[in-house]
């Protein structure tokens, strides 16, 4: 198994370059347009979480790892050294609430759960590590 790594400042200006990095790898593996859209969405949501919640004060870095194996799936890791935070610990939003009761937050993590084929969080030393697996479907 090999690994491709890209590190950038943890801020919204890095988003497009990081998404392009992953999309390029997914395309090499001939993922469908539908799968590419899912990957874009899930990775954006995970990265924006790090941009917004990851670092309380000074600007830190975010690292994206693309794990390559013979397996036809694509495994992506997002790592940051910000405050310990497990996004998967958040409760799902109430998707049936009406307009007046509907809340703004929680939707990003909900998409990660719904659209990645597998997702896991771990704290590794001083790093948050979110691992997401996508099947080509």
């Amino acid at each position: 198994m090999s690994m491709l790594i890209k590190q950038m400042p943890a801020r919204v200006e890095s988003l497009h370059e990081l998404l392009t990095f992953i999309r390029t790898e997914a395309k090499k593996r001939e993922f469908s347009e539908n799968a590419l859209n899912r990957i874009d969405l899930v990775v954006e949501e995970a990265l924006v979480n790090v941009f917004v919640h990851g670092y309380a004060q000074d600007q830190g870095q975010v690292e994206v790892r693309c794990l390559i194996s013979d397996d036809p799936s694509l495994m992506i890791e997002i790592r940051d050294k910000g405050v310990s935070f497990d996004p998967l610990s958040l409760a799902d939003p109430d998707v049936e609430a009406d307009i007046s009761k509907r809340k703004i937050g929680g939707m990003g993590v909900f998409f990660i759960r719904k659209m990645a084929d597998k997702v896991a969080y771990r704290r590794e030393g001083d790093s948050n590590v979110l691992t997401m697996t996508f099947l080509n479907r």
Partner: protein, 111 residues
Amino acid sequence: MEIAVTNESDIAVFTIKGRLDAVSVPQLEERLNQWFEQPGKKLIFDLDGLEYISSAGLRVFLTTAKKMKARDGKLCMARLRDNVKDVFTISGFIALIPAFDNLGAAQNAVR
């Protein structure tokens, strides 16, 4: 992302093209804030050219729906692409903002 705003009688149509994500959202927010400074009550999002939307984009749609409700206005969307429609369906937002297959039906709905 590109936004064009057109007015036909008292109906405003926001035509949004490209990607509505965490990077481009402030641009749409700014145009909407300008629009909300005047008392319009009929608003349509024409999404034929919208290729992608994330939760950052949905947030703006929800805020807009709340503001329109507060001023007793009418809001709807037209011509959602399949992948965009999926995002609205999974999030439940499809039940909050009426969606139509063509612009004419959307105009009739807010008229």
